[in-house]
């Protein structure tokens, strides 16, 4: 018996990680950007003093009743449409019953068998080609109310736990994928693209620090072993509070499951679904619950709410509000503006504001590659450093285009142009004013000639080297030209010196 086990273990040890297919599905909770809560008129504003944004409905007072917020329903439909989901013509509300101190009614109003959004999909790709483009199918997306927050005394002095019900009743859309992702990188790409879409269509601010976007990952492995495919037990990793945490935890978990399988050989049939958490400090997943506590939520239709039907006209009207999605913009920037996929992605990933900024600059300066380079580097650097959004960037697209026009036409060389841009940002000046402030003047032909002649005369040994065939040495003279006159265009100086030396 022992030897049989031993040999099986040895056989598993010979399996390489490259024979493993990682299988990942995601569940994402998105807080919809409504003014008021899902079933009452309390504000959803983040950060108010505890329990100041509550009423008898969201605190579950006896006798209070919920009334659906239509804006939440519309935002859910809008999201569903952007994610290619079937939209339910009739949807209903169900109670998910469980006890928790920050769940005031003892049940959560959710959607069980008739979610507002049915099957859909989201296409993901990597601009650098790190993985093959993939279609991630969506199982469903349903509306539900958020719970409150429990604040426990961490001092271990046995203080009371406190409950803040401000968040209670905030509308959430829970988006559930099929287990279609095959790596942690794909999962991250999915989350990134999903967030981008949600922000593009304006249904959520997706602020992860404030909990507007929360994700859980489900992961297991399919291993080719002994002529068959073996699945490892499924693990759900809860409360991933950043995309980086999602990617790292899933990467870690895949490896952990593989090592565990090599050690013990446990499969999905041997072990129920396990819940684990991500410890960001130690970069490991840790066990939270052994088995899914056979959670019986006793779902049943909420008798306080009536089914909601949505007409074709209403859906069409919502569809009309959806402008071009990120994928369409990437295509547009590649095809119409001739950008490389990577460059298009850099701009599109920053949000709709930067796309519009780029288009205006590119259209006006007439060179989309230069526009893309400058925006991708100079503008983004500034935004990253300042933490501002593009709408607060000090240089208007028209001014940026003016500047780039001069670069394109060689009136300004790159280094000087960057000085000009910095001046425009710092002093909010126009291109012309910034140029004047920096004392930049075009150097006329005669002056350029005299500069070049002076350099040749003062450095005969360098001139000799050039004439002897060391053309590169001209660079030393060009560098000195800038000291004589900072406005001297290095390209023109170089050409003229070579011409004087008869080369």
């Amino acid at each position: 018996m022992n030897s049989v086990n031993e040999s099986a273990k040895e056989a598993r040890a010979r399996v390489g990680f490259d024979q493993v297919t990682v299988v990942i599905g995601m569940e994402v909770h998105v807080q919809l950007a409504t003014q008021s809560k899902l079933f009452c008129s309390c504000s959803t504003q983040f950060g108010a003093p505890p329990n100041t944004q509550t009423c008898e409905v969201c605190t579950g007072m006896p006798g209070s009743l919920p009334v659906i917020n239509n804006q939440a329903l519309q935002l859910a439909i809008k999201t569903g449409l952007a994610l290619n989901c079937e939209i339910a013509r009739s949807t209903k509300w169900d109670r998910k019953n469980y006890f928790y101190p920050d769940l005031p009614k003892g049940y959560q109003i959710s959607q069980f068998d008739k979610p507002i959004c049915g099957k859909g999909y989201l296409d993901i790709a990597d601009a650098n080609g790190a993985f093959e483009p993939r279609r991630v199918r969506l199982e469903r997306a349903h509306l539900e109310e958020d719970a409150g927050k429990s604040i426990h005394d961490e001092s271990s002095r046995g203080g009371n736990s406190k409950i803040d019900l401000n968040r209670t009743g905030t509308p959430l859309l829970e988006i559930v994928t099929k287990p279609d992702m095959r790596s942690a990188a794909e999962a991250r790409a999915f989350l990134t693209e999903l967030k981008l879409i949600l922000v593009y269509i304006g249904v959520s601010d997706c602020n992860m620090q404030q909990g507007s976007l929360r994700c859980d990952g489900n992961i297991n492995l399919h291993i080719e072993f002994g002529g068959q495919t073996i699945a490892t037990p499924i693990v759900e990793i809860k409360n991933l509070n950043s995309f980086r945490a999602a990617e790292r935890s899933l990467t870690y978990e895949a490896r952990r499951q593989f090592d565990l399988w090599q050690q013990c050989g446990l499969t999905i049939d041997d072990s129920p679904k396990q819940t684990r958490g991500w410890n960001d400090a130690q970069q490991v997943t840790t066990m939270q619950r052994e088995k899914e506590e056979s959670a019986d939520y006793r779902y049943f239709p909420d008798p306080d709410l009536i089914a909601v039907s949505t007409s074709e006209e209403e859906i069409a009207a919502i569809e009309e509000q959806i402008d071009r999605l990120p994928a369409i913009w990437r295509e547009h920037l590649s095809e119409v503006y001739n950008l490389k996929p990577y460059d298009a992605d850099v701009i599109v990933s920053q949000g709709r504001g930067l796309v519009d900024y780029f288009r205006e600059v590119a259209d006006q300066c007439g060179d989309s590659r230069i526009a893309s380079n400058w925006i991708g580097q100079e503008v983004l650097r500034y935004l990253n450093e300042s933490g501002l959004e593009i709408d607060r960037y000090p240089v208007a697209p028209r001014q940026m285009a003016e500047l780039l026009k001069r670069v394109v036409s060689n009136q300004l060389e790159q280094t000087r142009a960057k000085e000009v841009l910095n001046e425009m940002v710092a002093s909010q000046l126009s291109v012309a004013a910034a140029i004047e402030k920096l004392g930049i003047k075009a150097v006329d032909h005669d002056e350029l000639k005299s500069i070049c002649q002076q350099l040749i005369d003062e450095h005969p040994e360098v001139a000799k080297q050039i004439q002897d065939g060391n053309i590169k040495a001209v660079g030393r003279l060009v560098g000195k030209a800038r000291k004589l006159n900072p406005n001297a265009n290095p390209g023109l100086v170089k050409d003229m010196i070579l011409k004087f030396l008869g080369i």
Binding site: T59, M61, N97, K105, G106, R298, D304
Partner: protein
């Protein structure tokens, strides 16, 4: 003026004509409560602002300013209906100290009409019961016989009207909780169509069945109150948008041409012969008023009680989950969360409530849902279909409200099933959502009132009130008072 002989409608017209001040009126009833409540236990809480409100209304009227249609009328409200600033317990230890920060919509409407909430009436805990024996604040006694139950769960509301402690009471009816106590106490009780009256502020027992309604001496008084409390409420998604007529205006229409169906299934075994003969007599009265009667069938009636006792506990098990010791409820001392939940709910709820929570939790559990909740929902649709069929042939359905007269206190305490069967004729209307009324139709040999039930099409409360009023125009049962509480002789 002899207030004790006046119903709500008459009080309102005397108040309006200046024959009576709101202060005199409220003082009369406050005094009645003081004399009587100790023996009946009908009220659990008396408003300490009622007299002040009466003064304000008198002053307003005296200065010629407009007053509402119920100006100065005292109204008792079942303690399962939220009253802002006035303790609302639903008959439970769990809510012993609960003071709602808001008014139920119907309370707001009554107050806006210048009615005066005089106090809160005792009830079976969370409206679960047919006898008002299951209150944390003690059993209510039947004014006709102190060793009898007043019916339930709105037993306090029924008893207080019967004993002349308030001209009007508001009750709630989930499976008969307005009609059966009205029948046991010899008053008029109306359960409106589901959705007719807002449930906002009614502490939920079974949300798809609960409905608030008036309990009064006469159908005319019920019409007056219903006209004020009915109508769509944006705070209750299940409240209907149907127009609300003035129900007092169609009362005098004769019954000529009205078709009344006698429900065959309501005269099966279990019906007290004395109740049966009384209902047969009442049928003759209605015929003499011009109504045409015929026998009809509601074939799924035998399944109604079983269906009700699945649907109602399922919803209740979820509705009562919020009483967990965390917020406004009673909280038992405990050292950890689970213990707090368990101890709080073990000590805060009475046995009947715990029994129904367990029934409902079981019936909704995975593996049992289809066999219980889903099946019950299907039978419920069939019961509703029975009514649709019947109302194709008749305008009203007539039968007894309860199979018996008021039973003795403690009689069913060891046999809950017998108690559940007291609801046999009333639960169907809740399951189907149709309106129904109970009116006094006789007195038994032992001196206990007997009730007659009429049911109508959804939103046709007008037909119920009309028939009831016509009946009361030619009979005197509604004016017969319990011998113990006849008030000062005139």
């Amino acid at each position: 003026m002899e207030i004790s002989n006046l119903g709500a409608s008459e009080l309102v017209s005397h108040l309006s004509a200046g024959h009576l001040t709101a202060v005199d009126c409220i003082q009369y009833f406050l005094q009645r409560i003081e004399q009587t409540n100790q023996s009946l236990n009908a009220f659990v809480n008396i408003s300490d602002t009622a007299l002040q409100r009466a003064r304000e209304i008198d002053a307003r009227r005296a200065s010629g300013k407009p007053v509402g249609p119920l100006a100065g009328l005292p109204i008792a409200v079942k303690d399962g209906i939220c009253t802002s600033g006035l303790k609302t317990t639903a008959g439970s230890k769990m809510l012993e100290q609960f003071v709602p920060p808001y008014d139920a919509t119907i309370v707001r409407r009554l107050i806006d009409a210048d009615g005066i909430v005089i106090g809160k009436t005792n009830m079976d805990e969370f409206a679960m019961g047919s006898s008002t024996e299951h209150s944390h604040f003690g059993a209510v006694k039947n004014p006709w016989s102190l060793d009898r139950v007043p019916g339930g769960s709105s037993g306090g509301s029924a008893a207080c009207v019967a004993a002349d402690m308030s001209p009007v009471a508001i009750g709630s009816d989930t499976g008969g909780s307005i009609r059966q106590p009205a029948s046991f106490c010899g008053i008029t009780g109306l359960k409106p169509t589901y959705g007719r009256v807002s449930r906002y502020g009614l502490i939920a027992f079974a949300s798809s069945l609960d409905q608030i309604g008036p309990m009064t001496r006469t159908a005319k008084d019920s019409a007056l109150i219903l006209s004020v409390i009915a109508g769509h409420d944006v705070k209750d998604s299940t409240s209907a948008k149907n127009d609300v007529p003035d129900f007092t205006r169609s009362l005098e229409k004769p019954l000529t041409g009205v078709r009344i169906g006698i429900c065959r299934e309501h005269f099966d075994e279990g019906l007290d012969p004395e109740v049966e003969s009384c209902v047969r007599e009442a049928t003759k009265v209605l015929e003499s008023l011009g109504a045409a009667t015929c026998e009809i069938h509601l074939p799924h009636t035998p399944y109604a009680v079983a269906t009700y006792y699945v649907v109602a506990p399922c919803e209740a098990s979820s509705n009562l989950a919020r009483y967990d010791g965390v917020r406004y409820t009673y909280r038992a001392a405990a050292t950890d969360l689970e213990q707090m939940y368990c101890q709080t709910r073990a000590a805060g709820f009475g046995d009947e409530v715990k029994q129904r929570i367990m029934l409902g939790t079981y019936a909704l559990s995975s593996g049992y849902y289809d066999a219980f909740y889903l099946k019950a929902s299907r039978v419920r649709r069939m019961i509703k279909h029975d009514y649709d069929q019947a109302f194709g042939e008749v305008d009203l359905i007539l039968g007894p409200t309860s199979p018996t007269t008021a039973f003795s206190i403690g009689e069913h305490s060891h046999n809950p099933l017998a108690m559940y069967l007291a609801d046999i004729y009333t639960v169907s209307a809740n399951l189907a959502g149709v309106p129904a009324i109970s009116i006094p139709a006789g007195i038994s040999a032992s001196g206990l009132p007997i009730g007659l039930q009429l049911q109508a099409r959804s939103f046709d409360e007008g037909a119920l009130l009309q028939a009831a009023h016509q009946f009361q125009s030619v009979t005197g049962w509604h004016a017969t008072k319990p011998p113990l509480y006849q008030g000062p002789q005139t």
